[in-house]
Amino acid sequence: MKKGLILLLLIVIAVSLYAQGGSEARTTTQGPRPVTLRVLKIDDPLEAMAFRDIVAEFRTIENGKYSHVNVEFDVKPFAELFPSITRAVATRSDVDIAMIDGPNIRHFAFNNVIKDLSNYFSKEELKTWAPQSVEEGSYAGRFYGPPLVQSAQLLWYNVDMFKQAGIDTSSTDGWKLGPDGDALTNFKKLTIDRDGDGTPEVFGVNTDGPWDYFYGIVGRSAGEKGSNAYKLVADDGITFSGYFDSPEAIAAYQFQQDMVYKYKVKSAQEITNQMFAGLSATHFYQDMIIGTQKDLFPDFNMGAMEPTYWTTPICHTGSWHYGILETTRNFDEALAFIKFASSDAGAKYVWKYKNQFPANVNLYNTIDEFVDPNNPRHLLVEYFQKAGVPRIATPAYTEYNTLFTEFWRSLMAGERDVAGLAKRYAAEMTKSAQQYKGWNQ
């Protein structure tokens, strides 16, 4: 009996170990070996639909040259994607392509995580995308990743609230920030404290997440083009002291805090769908807000204008890029896939389902919504071309953004010594970036 049990147990262990073996694609007797491309990307149901169509069409291009290619997607929430890519590289996981946030292209390129694709994209091909997209996908003058989409921001507003406040909406020019600027004047008109308890029920302007994408432009807008404040970081990409904490930037940070605690036109914490919920009159955001409005708040009357600014109008650009990992064993297929996906033929599917500002010049110059001067997307393109700048060029972007988020949270929490806070964090940003010294030489 016991011997029988032992034998049975050994068989079970042996079978389970055998079953753990990896399942490689079986070779076919005819045609190229089947290839499975593994793509690590953000979890987005709209993108999932787009990529379904992209993959289907990719397999038919060039007379079915890539019909042997399957594409599998490993999706992660936004906050987990960067650590996931890092883990995949460290463990040499079987990942061919990663969707990389534009500002992190330099970080991964510096660490030899993604392949230099300069020799695989001609100058003509690079003109497919906006110059900002090419810059964001590059590192030290080399091209590492074509874009999936682009982004820019406008100040979206509740038309009914603007009418009630008597604000003229005939002009789309942005309002100037500052204690004497028309932004504050108008935000005060739009802020409503019905019960007089000192906490408005409706704020003049919304509060976004505490990230560089939304609030990094606060300091940058405070300086003239080319100034230290505008640059936010030195040309070496690792020195923040004297730039992040320049006097003009500090004044702008102080004003942002004053909008919460002194003028009370802005909430201290972010509120989901703040404008659509009737809790703010305006919302600084990308054009994706149009999709949210149409899907979830179809009766909401929304307008758009250029964003507020301090000295120099500015908005951050940039979104996801395709990066081919150095560990890929299917480079040719991966390259062909990202070339197709980022081409006009592929990008049109992303536009179709996701409705986000495409990076492809031909698309945003021909799609009706971007061409129609009465459509806010046309204003978005104009502002993108006029004032859109990529986020700061540094391989230490993740370190910088982590510290920026801490800084902004403290600022919005009412830290009294704003100048001291800015200087402290500028010093920490500089210190954390030193490991990348010489990256662009």
Binding site: K2, K3, L5, I6, L9, L10, I13, A79, F82, P83, T86, R87, V89, A90, F108, N111, V113, D197, T199, P200, F203, P210, S267, A268, Q269, I271, T272, L279, T398, E399, T402, T405, E406, R409, S410, M412, A413, G414, E415, S432, Q435
Partner: protein
């Protein structure tokens, strides 16, 4: 005799074979990574850059001068001081209450336990909304009662206690169930004897109930301690370590250093220090509760 020995050997072999999968699991997925981590802490290591050279104890000596690390340890200690006594005390009270044979206690027990089985991310997001300074329900009630609004998660003084209490609310149900199980195991005849001898309710609780459930109290204390020192989800979801790093607990700090600042070797050295601290604390707590088992 021979048959007896071979039968004994077969029994031992069978025993080992049954334990082997679990043992392998522990070795491969727990102890080997710990030893690998310990080895890696002596190197300048990052996930993307790999091993960049042996540096000996440099990571550990840097920790002594790292004000951010020391601050995160202080914050974690503050969190521990709020969290552990709250969980233990509440678990005892609730456990005793739901152990009574009264109508509705089963329902109450279930209500208290529901947060335990709810995702901590979801719990954190919901509490974040409730505690929002400007539009949250809690502040709306406070305002209506004539109190000033409280920036629970936006103030360096209130953020940590707020997060700790949210964690208490989420986790106390588990400790309560442990206490309930312990109370059910107490011999009723001990209480009867005590009543006959004229002991007061407090005396009975202090001299009979508490000693009889001391193992359970020890367990929930150690469990709560481990949870306190490893708190991460509510910090990441609600405060991001702020404001002003007032909620920057050690595990969150380690995560930031390892994944966002690319210094995994340094982060691992912090983890090793944390492991040693937790081992010491657990040993001390077990000794404090030691009985003749």
């Amino acid at each position: 005799m021979k048959t007896c020995n071979s039968s004994l050997r077969a029994s031992k072999l069978l025993l080992i074979l049954f334990v082997l999968p679990a043992l392998l699991n522990f070795i491969v997925f727990r102890y080997l990574p710990i030893f690998w981590a310990l080895r890696t802490s002596f190197y300048n290591y990052s996930l993307l850059g790999g091993y960049r050279g042996f540096i000996g104890l440099e990571n550990y000596s840097s920790l002594l001068k790292d004000t951010a690390f020391l601050q995160s340890m202080r914050v974690t200690l503050q969190y521990f001081i709020i969290y552990v006594p709250s969980v233990v005390f509440l678990a005892l009270i609730l456990g005793n209450f739901v152990s009574m044979t009264k109508p509705g206690v089963n329902f109450l027990r279930a209500i208290i336990f529901i947060p335990v089985v709810t995702s901590f991310v979801v719990v954190s997001i919901v509490w974040g909304m409730l505690l929002n300074r400007d539009v949250g329900m809690v502040n709306a009630i406070l305002n209506n009662l004539g109190f000033s609004r409280v920036p629970f998660l936006m103030n360096a003084r209130t953020a940590l206690p707020t997060v700790a209490l949210i964690s208490v609310w989420k986790n106390v149900g588990y400790s309560m169930i442990i206490i309930v199980a312990g109370l059910k195991g107490v011999d009723k005849s001990l209480y009867e004897s005590a009543y006959i001898d004229g002991a007061s309710s407090f005396r009975i609780y202090w001299s009979i109930t508490l000693p009889m459930i001391s193992r359970q109290i020890m367990f929930i204390t150690i469990w709560a301690t481990l949870q306190a020192f490893q708190s991460f989800v509510p910090i990441q979801t609600l405060t991001g370590g702020g404001p002003n790093r007032s909620t920057n607990v050690i595990v969150y700090h380690i995560y930031n250093i390892g994944f966002n600042f690319g210094r995994m070797g340094y982060a691992i050295s912090m983890s090793i220090i944390l492991l040693v601290i937790l081992l010491l604390v657990s040993i001390i707590q077990m000794r404090m509760f030691k009985r003749d088992y």
